[in-house]
């Protein structure tokens, strides 16, 4: 098994009256076990030049991983604070990643198209994004197949 550790640090001296200094760390396990996730899409860096939706992690038709839990990392590497990336779970918008923002979220693919993770850049002038999934799914394809 592999050992992949994700750590988050959230700090702020002045967001509230009491300083915020939160740190969490967790090994990425397969669902319901203490066995490490052992597959990865690899860390992808892409330069996007169109404002069209891209399936970065489509679910293969006929496969389901409803009892599993993968982890997804996406980062908007833009340095223009007005540029953002819309992140969706199929047709449900999760949120906008503005310049420099990242996300780390669980991903449990239910079915093709229903659970695809999609991104849409806000501009067509070129945005650099990074994304990666750590998982133990039967199949996911890092290709565009939105429908």
């Amino acid at each position: 098994m592999a050992t992949t550790t994700s750590t988050l640090s959230l700090t702020s001296p002045d967001l509230t009256g009491d300083a915020l200094a939160l740190s969490v760390s967790k090994i990425c396990y397969k669902g319901g076990t203490t066995v490490g996730l052992d597959q990865s899409t690899g860390l992808t860096r892409a330069y996007l030049t169109a404002t069209t939706s891209i399936d970065i992690f489509p679910v293969v038709k006929g496969t389901t991983n409803a009892a599993e839990t993968g982890k997804v990392y996406i980062a908007n590497l833009s340095e223009d604070e007005t540029e953002f990336l819309i992140v969706s779970l199929a047709n449900s918008v999760i949120g906008r990643l503005y310049a420099g923002d990242f996300l780390w979220m669980p991903w449990t693919p239910q079915a093709q198209h229903l659970s695809d993770i999609e991104i849409v850049p806000s501009v067509a002038t070129g945005m650099v994004v990074e994304y990666m999934a750590v998982h133990n799914f039967a199949n996911i394809y890092p290709t565009s197949a939105d429908s």
Binding site: D14, T16, L20, G31, L43, Y73, G95, R96, F102, M105
Partner: protein, 235 residues
Amino acid sequence: MATTTATITLASGDLLSNAISFSSTASLTKAGNSTGLTETSGLARTNFTDDPIHQKLIYRGDDATSDGANKIYMKNLSTTPSEYFQIYVNSEEMGRLYAGDWAFFPWAANNGTKRVFTVTIAATWAIGDTWEFDGVKLYADSATVGSIANQIHALNYPNWVTTHTTDAATVVFEDRVSGLGGTTVVVTADGTLNTDGNGTANISSAAVSVEGVGDIYAKPSVATTMDLEHMLFRQ
């Protein structure tokens, strides 16, 4: 403005042939500028001990600015590996947070719509007439329609907020939160009227209420106690 920093580190010595170790740091700023987020729900802990198991609403779309640079932190505080929370954005399951797992993601907070209607006080009222709506009862202390409307506006309603121009005969009601009327219910004449004269309190028809499509829900895997830690950073 506040300065809030989020840093993620991902490291593995054996997931791939080549060790990975990378880190990304983000300053939490408002949408489209470099002004720090200034509002937070605070770090919260929600207990789930329901049998049968129920999902709970963690954040409602109304809680933050739609399409803002809002962020949500969540952690499953369970220490039993098999216990998980299913996290939903509206009705779509994002994924499962197993024991100790955490998530940090942006949130569009897409609001739903709220019902809005107008009550118009008219005709002949008398002191002591009553009007009841949303469990709140008005006893008219004047026979003047403008004064009665002032009284209606001054009351506090559990599920509605009002706007009103002093001494005008109309009061506008709006849902406190979206979605309370479901997706098809339109407000009808809910007010109960009891007048000595022929006073009326007619209402306009209301817009259909729609649940926020960005609502965040969590559902535990077991009915025995589980705790979810969560925090909203909003603009």
